[in-house]
Symmetry: C2
Subunit: 429 residues, 2 copies
């Protein structure tokens, strides 16, 4: 994509309404614009990141055997009355009547609708287990939406729902999602720590929040340093993880049971990006979702639900990867892999070399943002650092006279001068 044609309105000034780094940087880098309180438009650069994150989430769900479908944003109030959550949900639920005066709502989550789909379409134990998921916009009418996409009102969530015949099956589904979540966050460059969350009446310890570590995280977290060893090994050892202590500051009791000794306890900041629950037959009983068991007797489905905040992750990744100058995208979610800077647009050799590099990288399937604007070098450097693409390839008249371009790694600031061919070889593959 040529910068001169790209709809990328970067800002020099920091917008006064933004209190945290990711919000500031998403506005300044032209990724999003607020259209109403807590409601954002995703401009092309931000949308590309959102889609990459969504695709990683999708691939790991599919790999775990979950099947994608898509439920609508608007739901009937009727099914929420069946589960007895309609009155309980409160003001966060956006409610309205349609032109025929039927009570409707914008779905804040989908337990009711998926249970209805299951009840109406699944009959036999032979059809189980099933994990169904969708990636769909939700609306929660927060009192004080803030922190940009981190706590918006309209937000993109991946929510999965598992259906099993018994607790053992439900536990297997839970563990499959648990593992998929760790893989998902890892692919985005994030260290996610699963924390025991509130234990509901049923299911006990089968509920975890996943917090990614970021210095600017919203909540304090305490965890066993053995997590860092496991993360460094790159393995996902479910048994080992389950024995380790981890808790948010809300739940952490210094010196409490299971808390490791001070030399094994690490304190950090975290951002919640996922939450998984086993809730047994809560919804299947309330909504009468039964399948025929092997012995012919009807059985209420054992269920769980599993959420990932997809749009929130864009903010969380920026919180984890930025500096004073801007964003430092991990390659797996970067909107483009390479930012190509033409230091002197209009100069014949600069233009020809950059056009050639741009064409070759494009042909090799490498995504490039080519700053071909007639603007000062300082503006281009600052803009490219702000946007935060993993690699910057800088071509100017002085270097080209010597046959070299400069390759800069945004994360490390490491710069090397090398021939165009060597630079291309490094960036391709």
């Amino acid at each position: 994509m040529r910068r001169s044609a790209f709809f990328l309105p970067t800002l020099k000034e920091t917008p006064s309404e933004a209190q945290i780094a990711s919000h500031r940087l998403m506005l300044r880098a032209g990724m999003v614009r607020q259209s109403a309180a807590g409601i954002y438009s995703w401009l092309p650069l931000g949308f590309k990141v959102l889609r990459k994150i969504e695709q990683i989430v999708r691939e790991e769900q599919d790999a775990a055997g979950a099947q994608e479908l898509l439920m609508p944003t608007i739901q009937s109030a009727d099914i929420w009355r069946e589960s007895e959550r309609y009155d309980a949900y409160g003001k966060e639920m956006l409610r309205f009547k349609d032109r025929h005066d039927r009570e409707m709502l914008y779905g804040p989550t989908n337990e009711e609708l998926i249970t209805q789909l299951f009840r109406d379409n699944v009959r036999s134990y032979r059809d189980l287990p099933k994990i169904l998921y969708h990636i769909q916009w939700k609306f929660r009418d927060e009192v004080r939406p803030r922190f940009g996409v981190m706590r918006g009102r309209e937000f993109l969530m991946k929510d999965s729902y598992s259906f099993d015949m018994d607790f053992e099956g439900a536990k297997r589904s839970y563990e499959a999602m648990f593992t998929a979540y760790l893989k998902t966050f890892k692919r985005m460059g994030l260290t996610a720590i699963p924390m025991q969350a509130d234990s509901g009446a049923i299911g006990g310890n089968l509920t975890h929040e996943f917090h990614v570590l970021a210095e600017t995280g919203e909540s304090g977290v305490f965890y066993d340093i053995a997590y860092d060893d496991l993360a460094a090994k790159g393995e996902i050892d479910l048994a080992a993880l389950n024995d380790l202590y981890a808790a948010t500051d809300e739940k952490h009791v210094p010196g409490g049971p299971n808390v490791p000794p001070p030399e094994r306890l690490r304190e950090a900041r975290g951002i919640e990006v996922g939450h998984i629950f086993y809730f047994g037959t809560k919804y299947s009983k309330a909504m009468n979702a039964m399948v025929q068991g092997k012995d012919g007797e009807p059985v209420f489905a054992e269920m769980g639900s599993y959420g990932i905040g997809v749009s929130r992750l864009v903010g969380a990744i920026i919180e984890a990867y930025h500096d004073d100058r801007g964003i430092k995208w991990p390659e797996s979610v970067a909107p483009f892999k390479v930012g190509l800077i033409n230091l002197k647009a209009g100069d014949a050799l600069c233009d020809k070399t950059c056009d050639d590099i741009y064409a070759k990288l494009g042909a090799a399937g490498v995504e490039v943002l080519y700053d071909d604007r007639d603007d000062r070098a300082g503006v281009k450097f600052a803009d490219m650092d702000l946007i935060g693409l993993p690699w910057q390839l800088i071509a100017g008249p002085k270097g080209l006279a010597q046959g070299v371009v400069e390759l800069k790694n945004r994360a490390t600031d490491e710069k090397v001068e090398l021939s165009v061919d060597s630079a291309l070889a490094r960036l391709v593959g």
Copy 2:
């Protein structure tokens, strides 16, 4: 995907509420389920088709130079007051108040929001032209939603918006979208006829509806048979197309001006799947969206908008491609390319051969739905015809004893017996 694990609730009976073929077949083939009047959940099979159609639309938009972004579903009433459409829009607009009593709505279209984005972020003629688009769910509260996804209330639409400095630029944008639309529909196996639509006060003849031909189409269309020649040639000749007559029955006047003689006039049925408009400065003036011109003077942007009914296309394609037994998907939008039928699940040779075929096709990137269920052959044949995958590969004990499988083309019903290797060679690549 193995049929035994796939969430694909096909129906033997035709649901009584469905009046047209695509609605009946989408319910019977387990593609969608209605959750409220005119509001559907897309089950995995239907969702796969929806995504393929969406991707074709996206690729042709990108190829035409349009840039994708994503605007939210919920909008503030304020911008609709600026354009003076808030009161005018009527009951089709779903309106509500948020918890702070602010008037909001579920976007039925996005002229206001994109104009606001443009106004707030684009300053100079150097940033033009721009075509911006998104693929997002819309809501229109139809009095009588019907025909399944063909006239739903919550529906997926691709809407593009062009911004130019003058009429000549706007006309170029219009023509780029016009051409992109013809390519888009052609890739889905559809013949789309552009019809002159209502001419608004401004823009005159720069508005077209695109109707795809289907025997069960909702409206009658009349067109010059030269369209068929152009379509057969596979060329998109904008000048030639613009001179040809085409009109829906609402606008057609037998023997009227420009109407070709009877021997050159064809009457058919059509389904509207796209609509493009040039509307000049209607919104930019109402919302004060100006950029600085070359001479330094501010200029109101010349705009156009361009819609494609993405979810509606699923129904339209089925209307164009089905028979008494079920759907006949064009390969470009088929949920899977191949349906593999194991005629005797449990038979060692059948299982081994099918498992092998399934693995090899999967490794070659061919999408396969493998009916591995322990069920009668008749059930499997009927189900596979209903679902309508382009190719059926049928393996049974008798044929395998002779070393052959059967390959059936769903569209033509042509069947051939051939070796497994020959069948694989035909399906790969």
